[in-house]
Symmetry: C2
């Protein structure tokens, strides 16, 4: 019998402006908020009266069990992810682990993921069919990532790249550009946004060859246009096909 | 010189619960809201004091020009899309047309798109790399849609399908399933959500072969799992790869 609900909440990028009404309502009514340290520190300012539980990065299983255990202890619990909890966030692992906590129901509250928020900053790059690919090979073999990049470019998808770099993966975006260059021209319009929704947010529109040389970090989201993407007044725009000439 | 800002706002799916704080703030401060009739009627309840301008479906250019003209008339204007304005919404066309209105700056406010909201209802289908594809051939040749479906399945992306049917495209989802069946097994886990965030929302988890026979309409969002997607306690879950056995 399900007696307890554990919420998994996407808080959107940045500090609260992009949070949905439902996410804010759930966080407001819960006792305990569990999350990765960076996101929790953003929330402490908005909801100072809550109890917070954190674990460092790469301790996801521990963090999830913490949430279920708090719920069993009688607390109303929300596990938070930046952006959307369902896109490289915590909702999948929470649902996988929920099999071990049959008295708990996991409910997911969606949020604005970096692909959508970054696209809005750049203009309208995702107006046609698109693919979202993470370059993190922590849990996916690079060969699979490479194949997805190449097929996505061959299919003329707009491509949005998450996790383009980390301290141990400095060259991954350059490698990804080299894979895409097998299918796309060097002048292909691309864009990147750093620190979406946070202080110091920056954006740049550039070509695929320029992107290859661009330093990026784990707080950067990258967009590779499709064959029709162009620059209009400094903005990155993929026409949907309404035939404006 | 840019004298006026025209806002393009994604209001999320349904009637307001999934709207972000920023979207609500922009709509609250504007004089005129322009949009497709269905979305506008949802907003009239939340913001009854605004002026509204609508055009029927398929009159997108006219609707965009209406927004720019209102802005030139001195009004603060927001063009609204359901979900996210940057995913098959109005931000692209607004930016394309903005070249004709050099005194106006277009600013885009992101929203929760149906892929994210539908995923949250089903469980966590988008936890790994995914592709978003519209089956509408109003502005894209079917051959291009077919090629994208096949390459996305070959790349083992989770696939989220928008516009799976309309009155004139009753069989398109069946055709899409047949394309995907060239690369994926008939038992592949799929899901669909109808009327996301609205009264009468329903969801179903089913196999690819069952999906082929399923009646859908333009208010349905469809998810095709990747090779690792499975059902956990009735929910559709794509593991990210944290190796839970």
């Amino acid at each position: 019998m399900k007696e307890r609900t554990v919420w998994v909440v996407g808080m959107g990028p940045g500090g609260g402006l992009q949070m949905t009404a439902e996410a804010a309502r759930v966080l407001k009514q819960c006792d305990v908020i569990v999350g990765y340290t960076v996101y929790v520190s953003l929330l402490r300012e908005l909801f100072p009266e809550k109890e917070y539980r954190t674990t460092p990065m790469c301790r996801e299983m521990e963090r999830c069990r913490m949430a279920f255990e708090e719920a069993r202890g009688g607390k109303t619990v929300a596990m938070v992810s930046g952006g959307d909890a369902g896109v490289y966030g915590m909702s999948g692992l929470m649902l996988e682990l929920s099999a071990e906590y049959p008295d708990c129901t996991v409910r997911v509250v969606p949020g604005v993921t970096a692909a959508l928020a970054g696209a809005a900053v750049l203009g309208a790059p995702l107006m046609h069919d698109f693919a979202v690919i993470s370059l993190s090979d922590r849990m996916t073999p690079w060969e699979k990532i490479e194949r997805r990049l190449q097929l996505a470019a061959a299919a003329d998808f707009v491509i949005c790249i998450y996790n383009p770099a980390s301290r141990t993966r400095a060259d991954y975006l350059r490698w990804a550009c080299d894979v895409i260059l097998k299918e796309a021209e060097p002048e292909r319009i691309c864009g990147l946004v750093r620190q979406i929704g946070r202080d110091g947010e920056t954006a740049r529109v550039l070509t695929l060859m320029e992107l290859r040389e661009e330093p990026v970090d784990m707080f950067t989201t990258v967009f590779i246009g499709n064959s029709t993407t162009r620059v209009i007044d400094g903005r990155m725009v993929t026409p949907r096909g309404y035939r404006i000439r």
